[in-house]
Symmetry: C2
Subunit: 149 residues, 2 copies
């Protein structure tokens, strides 16, 4: 990405404490959201805090996928998890420190080093992490996975 | 919400530059995401920046829905839009200022004042806005809508 890139997102209220998110490109589909149950909203529907952690985690992971492609790293598996708390600060709330765990499977020692390096670069470059106030701690779990015969 | 509230989000890599987001409560379903096309990812799939703006916009709107319920404001329509740019800062990128437009329909002058006040409180209390670095500018468009006979 060499130039500025614009992003636009829409919300439309549906009923009670629910709404629908849509995007400039309508082929991206829609996401239903709700006020969290803790704020007397609905159960089993994505909340603003789910979306906040999702944006951070996918940004980090997407950066890693890009670095992997650029360095020709072929990882065999990848999963990650982000965890945080919403804590009071005066009359309001903020996100506390965010803990991320990343689990990457690779085929040999050489790729394990490549994966470590790619994730270090992703941590530094992640534009969501660079745009938020809470501290982000990334713990990497890189494992050499035996090929199944 | 009187106490700390924990949030947890998962990503699993699917193929190439795509992945799936899931949540602690698996009844919330899954969201597919991709590296943005600008970073040589895929077209027509939700990106980390879509999720970032979604989290901010839904947090503001959810806060407003809560304030409306608390003050017994019955709005007749509600939609909103968030817009931002990802801009370079040295070798990395960050989100620039975020512009939000909110369109609220109400039935009379009294509710128009209530809606204005509820949105002012939502702006101050929005915990995503309080957790991010970019400036957030909210422009309110409150309109008295005639009831259709």
């Amino acid at each position: 990405m060499d130039e500025e890139h614009t992003c636009e997102v829409y919300v439309e209220w549906k009923k009670k404490k629910k709404g629908i998110i849509s995007f400039l490109d309508d082929k991206k589909g829609e996401i239903e959201f709700s006020v969290p149950p803790e704020f007397m909203g609905h159960q089993h529907i994505v909340t603003p805090e789910d979306l906040f952690l999702s944006s951070l985690l996918t940004c980090l992971d997407a950066y890693f996928f890009n670095m992997a492609a650029r360095t020709r790293l072929k990882f065999t598996s990848f999963r990650s998890c982000a965890k945080s708390k919403i804590v009071p600060i005066g009359p309001d709330y903020i996100f506390s420190k965010i803990d991320i765990n990343v689990y990457i499977g690779v085929k040999d020692e050489r790729d394990a080093h490549k994966a470590e390096r790619a994730m270090n670069i992703a941590e530094k470059g992640c534009y969501v992490a660079n745009s938020i106030k809470p501290k982000v701690k990334v713990k990497k779990h890189i494992k050499i996975e035996k090929k199944e015969d």
